[in-house]
C-alpha cells in the first residue's frame, strides 16, 4: 500500500492542504512550526483509522475554533494494485465516509468496515481514538511527533505479534506452536505457580505447609517419645527404689542390733575403766617407792665405786710424780752442758767474722785503686778538650760575624743593584764607531779600520778629530733617575759589606760557612766533655780526692796474693760455724723448755694428788654416814615385790577391759548410732522418692501416650507421603515450566533473528559496529558495541540513540510485516533528538528503506534533509493556527 494523495480541509485551523503526486518511495513534508505538519499527519490518521461516526470530544476538537465547517479528509491510496479513495467528514450528523475504487463505492459503516478490512485494523470506540491494539500493525508504522524515542509496542499487540509470527514462520520455518503453544506456556506457568512464587524463587504456602506439617509431626512424635522414655525411666527408678527400700529396711535392722550390742559393751567397759584407774594409782605409788629405793641404792653404789676409783687414781698420780722428779733432775744436768757448748761455738764464730772483715777491706782497696786510675785518664782527656775549645773560640772571635740573614740581605742588595744597572743599560745608546782612517776621537787617536763601541747613558758629544762634533742625548736626558738608582743600590751594597767587615758578597758567604764549621766543632767538644763527666768535673775531682785519701790510709796493709780465695774460704768456714752455733742454741733451748715443762708437771701432780687425798677422805666419811650398800639393797628388793603384785592385778583388770572393747566401746556405740541414723535418713529419702514416682506413674497412667505416639507416627508418615507427592508434582511442574520457557525463548530468539538481520544494515549506517538486541517479544533490550562489547540497556542509551534505534526497529519490523504488501511508514518529526551529522547518516537509511516501503517524513528542519534524495518534497507554508 502507498498513499498517492491527501487532501485536508477545515482541520484545526487548516483551511486547505493538498499533498498530491506523492511518491511510493520517500516523501518529505517540510515546513516550520505552525505550518500544519502534525495536523496533516493527524488528518491522514483519522482518514484511515477513525470512524466518521460519532462526535466524541476528540473529534469535536478537530473542528476549527469558531468555524462551522466540518473537518474533512480525503486519502487516495493504492493497495494490492488497486487505487482507492477514502473520504471522511467528521462531526457530522450522518455517517460521512465514502470508500471507492475503480468500479465500486461503499458508504457509511460499510465503507468503514471495508476500509478496516483493507487496512487490517479492528473496530474502535466512537468516543475515544483508536487504541494501539485496534490499530494493529499501524501502531508500529506510524510515529507521532515526540514519540520516536519510545520502544515499538509489539508485546501487547496481538495483531503485530500474529503478523510478525506468521510472516516470520514462513521465513524461518516452524518456530512456535501458535495458540496451543501460548496455551501450554500459560498452563505450564500456572502449574508451576501452584507450588512456587513467580520466577520459581520461593516455595508457596502449599509446599511450605506440607513441610512444616511434617516437621510438626516429627516434633510431636519426638516429644511423646521423650515423655514415654521419661516414664520408662521413672518405672525403672521406682523399681530400683523399692528394692533399695527393702534392702535399707534389712540393713537398718542389722544396724540397730549392732547398736544394742555396742551400748552394753560401753556400759561394761565404763566399770572396768573405773577399777583400772584405782589400781593404776596404786601402781604409781608402788613404782615411786621402788624408784626411791633404787635411787638410794644407786647412790651408795656410786659412792663406793667413786672411792675405789679415787684411790686407784691417787696411786697412779704418785707414780707419775716420782717419775717426773727423776726426769727433772736429769734434764737440769744436760742443760748446763748444752749452755757451755753454745758459748764455745759463738766464740769461734766471732773469730771467723773478724778475719773475714779484714779480708773484705783489702779487696775494697784494690778496686778503689783501679777506679782512681780511670778517673785520672778522663781528667786528662778533659784538659785536652778544654784546649781545643779555647782554640775554636779564638778562631770564631777572629772571623767577622756574618749570619745567614746577613748573607741573604747582601744577595738581595746585589740583585737590586744589578737590576738597576740593567735598567740603565737598556735605556742607554750603544754607539758603534768604525774608523775609515786614523783620527782623533775626543782627543784619542784611533787607527783606521778600528771599531769602537760606546755605551752612552748620558748626554755626550764626541769630537771627531776636529772635523765634527757628534752630540748624543740618550733618552732625551731622562736617564738621570736610572743612573741615580744604580748609584744608590751600589752605595747600599757597599755600606752593608762594610758594616759586616767583609770584602764582598762572596767573602761574606765564605765567612759564614767557616763560622758554621767552627761552631759545629765547638759543639762536639762540649758534648765529649759532658760524656766524660755527666755529673760535672768538680764532683769527679772531689771523688778522686776521696779515693786518693782512702788509699793513702790503706797503703800500709799487706794484700795477700790469693785474697779472693782466702776470702771465699773464710766465708765458708764462717757459715759452717754459724750453723753449728745455731744447732747448739736450739738444743739448749729445747732442753730448757723441757726442763720448764717438767717443773710445771711436778707442781701439777703434786696439786692433784693433794685434791684426790681430800676427796678420798670425804667419800670415806659419806659412806660411813649413809649405811652400807647391802642394807640399802634389801630395802629396794622389798619395794619391787610390792610393785609386781600391783602390776599383776592391773594386768588382770586391763585384760578384761580390752576384751570388753576397751577405749573403742564408746566410739563403737557412736558409730552404730550414726549408722542407724544414716540408714533411717536414706530410707526416708527413698520413701519420698518412691511416693513421688508412684504419684507420677499414676498420673502418667491416665494419659494415652502410646496411642498418641502412634497417632503422631501415622500423621508423620502421612505428612511425609503428602510432602513427597507434592514435591514430586512441584518438581514435575517446575521442570516442565522451565523447559517450556527455555524452548519458547529459543524459538522466539530464532524469530527475532530475521528482524535483527534486516535492521543490521541500517544500524551499520547510523551506528557502525553496533548490534541491536531484541527480546523474544521484539522488545528492545539494548545495544551491543562490537562483537565482544558490552550491551547497554535501551533505557540507558542517549535520547538520540534511543530514537534512532527505535526507528530502525520500526523500519525492520515494517519490512518484515510488509513482505507481501508493503505498508507506508509515517514519521512525524521523528529525529528531533538526533544531531545533524547523524541525521545525514540516517538519510541513507530512509532512502534505502523507501525503496521497499513508502515513507512519509514530516520535518520542520527541511534544509537538514536536503540531501535525503526525497522522491517528492512538499513544503508547507506557515499557517497561523486558528484555534
Amino acid at each position: 500500500m502507498w498513499i498517492r494523495r491527501l487532501e485536508v480541509e477545515h482541520w484545526r485551523g487548516l483551511e486547505h492542504v493538498l499533498l498530491d503526486d506523492l511518491s511510493p518511495h520517500l516523501n518529505l513534508v517540510t515546513g516550520p512550526n505552525e505550518s500544519g505538519k502534525s495536523r496533516v499527519a493527524q488528518a491522514l490518521r483519522f482518514g484511515l483509522f477513525e470512524s466518521s461516526r460519532g462526535a466524541g470530544r476528540f473529534k469535536q476538537d478537530l473542528q476549527t475554533w469558531g468555524g462551522s465547517e466540518r473537518p474533512r479528509v480525503r486519502v487516495d491510496f493504492e493497495l494490492a494494485g488497486a487505487a482507492w479513495q477514502v473520504e471522511k467528514t467528521f462531526v457530522s450528523q450522518q455517517h460521512q465516509t465514502r470508500l471507492s475504487t475503480a468500479n465500486r463505492a461503499f458508504e457509511g459503516e460499510e465503507a468503514e468496515a471495508r476500509l478496516r478490512e483493507l487496512l487490517g485494523t479492528e473496530p474502535g470506540s466512537t468516543t475515544s481514538p483508536a487504541s494501539g491494539a485496534q490499530l494493529g500493525r499501524w501502531s508500529l508504522l506510524w510515529v507521532e511527533q515526540g514519540r520516536a524515542g519510545e520502544e515499538p509496542e509489539v508485546a501487547d499487540n496481538s495483531a503485530i505479534q500474529g503478523g510478525l509470527h506468521d510472516r516470520l514462520v514462513r521465513e524461518v520455518g516452524d518456530v512456535a506452536a501458535g495458540a496451543l503453544g501460548q496455551y501450554v506456556r500459560r498452563r505450564a506457568r500456572e502449574e508451576a505457580e501452584r507450588f512456587y512464587s513467580q520466577g520459581l524463587g520461593a516455595e508457596k504456602k502449599r509446599l511450605k505447609e506440607a513441610r512444616s506439617h511434617l516437621e510438626a509431626c516429627s516434633a510431636e512424635r519426638e516429644d511423646i517419645e521423650r515423655r514415654i522414655a521419661a516414664i520408662e525411666d521413672d518405672a525403672r527408678t521406682l523399681r530400683r527404689t523399692r528394692m533399695d527400700e527393702s534392702d535399707l529396711s534389712e540393713r537398718r535392722a542389722v544396724a540397730e542390733a549392732e547398736r544394742g550390742d555396742a551400748r552394753k559393751r560401753r556400759d561394761d567397759t565404763r566399770e572396768l575403766a573405773r577399777q583400772l584407774e584405782a589400781v593404776t594409782d596404786e601402781l604409781t605409788r608402788a613404782e615411786a617407792a621402788v624408784a626411791e629405793r633404787r635411787k638410794a641404792l644407786g647412790r651408795a653404789e656410786a659412792l663406793a665405786e667413786e672411792l675405789g676409783t679415787n684411790e686407784q687414781r691417787r696411786e697412779q698420780l704418785q707414780a707419775e710424780l716420782d717419775a717426773a722428779v727423776r726426769e727433772e733432775a736429769e734434764t737440769s744436768s744436760a742443760l748446763a752442758e748444752l749452755r757451755e757448748n753454745v758459748v764455745n761455738a759463738e766464740t769461734a764464730l766471732d773469730e771467723l767474722r773478724t778475719e773475714r772483715l779484714r779480708l773484705q777491706r783489702l779487696a775494697q782497696a784494690r778496686s778503689q785503686r783501679e777506679e782512681l786510675a780511670r778517673l785520672d785518664a778522663r781528667l786528662e782527656e778533659a784538659a785536652r778538650q778544654d784546649t781545643v775549645l779555647a782554640e775554636l773560640r779564638t778562631a770564631l772571635n777572629e772571623l767577622p760575624e756574618v749570619a745567614e740573614a746577613d748573607v741573604m740581605a747582601l744577595r738581595k742588595l746585589e740583585r737590586e743593584q744589578v737590576e738597576a744597572s740593567a735598567r740603565l743599560e737598556g735605556a742607554s745608546v750603544r754607539v758603534r764607531l768604525q774608523t775609515q782612517r786614523e783620527l782623533d776621537l775626543d782627543g784619542e787617536r784611533i787607527e783606521a779600520g778600528v771599531e769602537r763601541t760606546f755605551l752612552v747613558d748620558r748626554d755626550r758629544s764626541f769630537d771627531l778629530d776636529g772635523v765634527a762634533t757628534v752630540e748624543i742625548q740618550p733618552g732625551s736626558g731622562a736617564l738621570e733617575s736610572l743612573r741615580d738608582a744604580v748609584a744608590d743600590r751600589k752605595a747600599d751594597l757597599r755600606r752593608r759589606i762594610e758594616a759586616l767587615g767583609v770584602k764582598d758578597l762572596e767573602h761574606a758567604e765564605r765567612v759564614r760557612r767557616e763560622r758554621e764549621a767552627l761552631v759545629s766543632r765547638e759543639r762536639e767538644a762540649r758534648h765529649r766533655l759532658r760524656e766524660l763527666f755527666p755529673d760535672g768535673r768538680e764532683a769527679a775531682r772531689s771523688w778522686r780526692d776521696e779515693l786518693a785519701a782512702a788509699l793513702a790510709e790503706l797503703s800500709q796493709s799487706e794484700v795477700p796474693p790469693d785474697l779472693d780465695a782466702a776470702l771465699a774460704n773464710i766465708e765458708t768456714d764462717e757459715g759452717e760455724q754459724n750453723a753449728r752455733a745455731k744447732a747448739a742454741r736450739d738444743r739448749r733451748d729445747e732442753i730448757s723448755a723441757r726442763a720448764e715443762a717438767l717443773a710445771r708437771r711436778v707442781a701439777d701432780l703434786r696439786s692433784e694428788l693433794k685434791g684426790i687425798d681430800g676427796e678420798v677422805a670425804q667419800l670415806k666419811r659419806q659412806l660411813e654416814g649413809d649405811g652400807s650398800v647391802a642394807r640399802v639393797q634389801e630395802a629396794c628388793d622389798a619395794a619391787a615385790r610390792t610393785l609386781a603384785d600391783v602390776v599383776a592385778r592391773r594386768d588382770d583388770i586391763a585384760e578384761v577391759f580390752k576384751a570388753a572393747g576397751g577405749d573403742t566401746a564408746e566410739l563403737d556405740l557412736q558409730r552404730a548410732e550414726q549408722a542407724v541414723a544414716a540408714l533411717v535418713e536414706q530410707a526416708g529419702e527413698k520413701r519420698d522418692l518412691r511416693v513421688a514416682l508412684e504419684q507420677r506413674m499414676n498420673d502418667a497412667g491416665a494419659s494415652s501416650l502410646h496411642e498418641a505416639l502412634q497417632d503422631a507416627a501415622s500423621a508423620g508418615a502421612a505428612a511425609e507421603l503428602d510432602l513427597a507427592r507434592l514435591e514430586r508434582e512441584a518438581g514435575a511442574a517446575r521442570r516442565l515450566f522451565e523447559r517450556v520457557e527455555q524452548a519458547y525463548g529459543a524459538a522466539q530468539a530464532q524469530l527475532a533473528e530475521p528482524v535483527i538481520r534486516r535492521i543490521q544494515p541500517y544500524l551499520e549506517q547510523v551506528l557502525p559496529g553496533a548490534r541491536a538486541h531484541l527480546a523474544d517479544d521484539f522488545a528492545l533490550l539494548g545495544l551491543q558495541q562490537g562483537e565482544a562489547g558490552s550491551t547497554e540497556r535501551f533505557d540507558q542509551l542517549s535520547g538520540g540513540t534511543r530514537e534512532q534505534l527505535a526507528l530502525l526497529v520500526r523500519i525492520g519490523l515494517a519490512e518484515v510485516l510488509g513482505e507481501d504488501e508493503p505498508w507506508p511508514l509515517l514519521l512525524d518529526d521523528a529525529l528531533v533528538n538526533t544531531d545533524p551529522e547523524r541525521i545525514r547518516q540516517f538519510q541513507r537509511v530512509l532512502f534505502a528503506a523507501s525503496r521497499r516501503t513508502q515513507i512519509l517524513f514530516f520535518t520542520c528542519h527541511g534544509p537538514l534533509f536536503d540531501a535525503t534524495g526525497a522522491d517528492r518534497v512538499v513544503p508547507l507554508e506557515p499557517r497561523p493556527r486558528r484555534h
Binding site: 501416650l705 516442565l736 529459543a746
Partner: protein
C-alpha cells in the same frame, strides 16, 4: 480338656496409617473380635482361655484402652482367662495388665513365673518381667515328676529365630521344655498362626496389625485328652479385617485393566486392606487410566497402600504422536522424553489433553 489359645491382641494399636473413620472401625474391631472369641469359647465349651502375651500393644496405653479391654473381657463371664504379659506389655512398673480397671472374676494375670492349676490342668505360666529377657523365659519350668496331670506351658517369645541377624532375646527352648514333660506349649509373639511341632503352636494375632504377617486372624481350639496325649489343634478364623498383599507385574495396558476388574470384584471391600505393589511398564494413557481406576478402588477399600515405584511409564508411539507438536512444544516433548522425565511428560500430557482445542 479343651482350651482356647490366642495371643498378640495388641490392644491400643491405632492403625492410623489407614486413616480416618476406617482406622477407628479397625481399632474398635480388635475389641469386637475379643467378643467373637468369647462367644466361640462359650460355644465350644472350653475349660479356659490362654492369651499368650502382648494383650496390649504397649504399657503406656491410656485409660480408654484399658477400659475397652475390660469391657471386652467381661464377655468371657466366669470363664478362666489367663492374660500373660509379653514383651509389649511386660510386667514393668505401671504395666498395662496391672492397671486393668475392675477385671472380670475369671481373669488372672500372673505377676511372675508360676504354676497354677486350672480345671485340673497344671498351667506353667511364663510372663515377661521385662521387655527383653536374656535367656529362656520358660527355663525355670520343672520336670513333670510324679504328677499325673496335663501340663500346659504358656509363654511369649521366639521359638524360632524370627528376626534373622538380631541377637535373640526371649528365646524359648521348646525341645527342652517338651523334654520336661509339657503336653502343650501355647506361644505368643509371632502374629501368624504357626505350628512349631505337634505340641507347640503360635496362635497368631486375632486381627492383623500389618501386611507382612503370615496367616493372622485365627485362634486355636486345643483338645488334650490326658497327660502325654498328643494335643488336637483346630485353627478357627475369627478376624473381621482382611489384609491382602498383591504384587502385580503389568506388561501392557490391558494387564492393568484386568487387574482393576479383579480387585473391584473383591468381597467386603470396606473390611479389606490391600497392599498393591506394581511393576512393569505402561503407556501414558494406560497410566492415566490406572491412576483413575486405583483412585476409585482406594475409595471403596478400607485401605490401599500402593507401591508403584517399579512401574514405569513408557510413552508409546501413539502417546508420542499425540504429544508431538510443532514448534517449540516439539522441542519440549523431545527434551523431556530424552531425559526420561516421565512426571513432567505426564503433566504435559494432561495439559495438552485439557487444551480447549484438540491439540493433543
Amino acid at each position: 480338656m479343651r482350651l482356647l489359645h490366642t495371643a498378640d491382641w495388641q490392644l491400643g494399636l491405632r492403625l492410623d496409617f489407614v486413616g480416618g473413620e476406617t482406622a477407628a472401625r479397625l481399632r474398635a474391631q480388635r475389641y469386637d473380635t475379643i467378643r467373637t472369641i468369647a462367644r466361640l469359647a462359650h460355644e465350644r465349651a472350653v475349660d479356659m482361655v490362654v492369651v499368650a502375651g502382648d494383650v496390649f500393644d504397649a504399657n503406656r496405653v491410656g485409660r480408654d484402652t484399658l477400659q475397652q479391654a475390660s469391657d471386652a473381657l467381661a464377655t468371657f463371664g466366669d470363664l478362666p482367662v489367663i492374660l500373660l504379659a509379653g514383651n509389649h506389655d511386660a510386667l514393668e512398673e505401671g504395666a498395662a495388665l496391672t492397671r486393668l480397671p475392675n477385671p472380670p472374676a475369671g481373669v488372672f494375670v500372673p505377676t511372675g513365673p508360676e504354676i497354677v492349676e486350672v480345671a485340673g490342668v497344671e498351667l506353667l505360666l511364663c510372663p515377661l518381667q521385662e521387655r527383653h529377657v536374656r535367656g529362656d523365659p520358660a527355663g525355670w519350668i520343672p520336670g513333670r515328676g510324679d504328677a499325673e496331670r496335663i501340663r500346659v506351658a504358656v509363654a511369649h517369645g521366639g521359638a524360632l529365630n524370627f528376626a534373622e541377624g538380631v541377637e535373640s532375646v526371649n528365646r524359648i527352648e521348646v525341645d527342652a521344655l517338651l523334654a520336661k514333660g509339657v503336653d502343650y506349649v501355647a506361644l505368643g509373639d509371632w502374629h501368624g498362626t504357626y505350628r512349631v511341632n505337634d505340641r507347640c503352636w503360635y496362635s497368631g494375632t486375632h486381627e492383623a496389625t500389618r501386611f507382612r504377617e503370615q496367616a493372622p486372624g485365627n485362634v486355636l481350639i486345643v483338645d488334650i485328652d490326658g497327660p502325654g496325649a498328643l494335643p488336637r489343634v483346630e485353627t478357627v478364623p475369627v478376624a473381621r479385617s482382611r489384609w491382602l498383599r498383591e504384587s502385580v507385574e503389568l506388561a501392557e495396558d490391558a494387564d492393568a485393566e484386568s487387574m482393576l476388574q479383579r480387585l473391584e470384584a473383591l468381597p467386603e471391600k470396606s473390611w479389606t486392606l490391600l497392599r498393591l505393589e506394581l511393576s512393569g511398564e505402561l503407556s501414558l494413557a494406560g497410566r492415566e487410566r490406572l491412576d483413575t481406576g486405583l483412585a476409585s478402588l482406594a475409595a471403596s477399600l478400607a485401605h490401599l497402600r500402593l507401591k508403584a515405584e517399579g512401574l514405569s511409564v513408557a510413552p508409546t508411539a501413539e502417546d508420542l504422536a499425540s504429544l508431538e507438536q510443532e514448534g517449540y512444544l516439539g522441542e519440549v516433548v523431545r527434551g523431556l522424553r530424552d531425559e526420561g522425565d516421565i512426571d513432567a511428560l505426564r503433566l504435559l500430557y494432561r495439559i495438552l489433553r485439557e487444551a480447549p482445542t484438540a491439540g493433543g
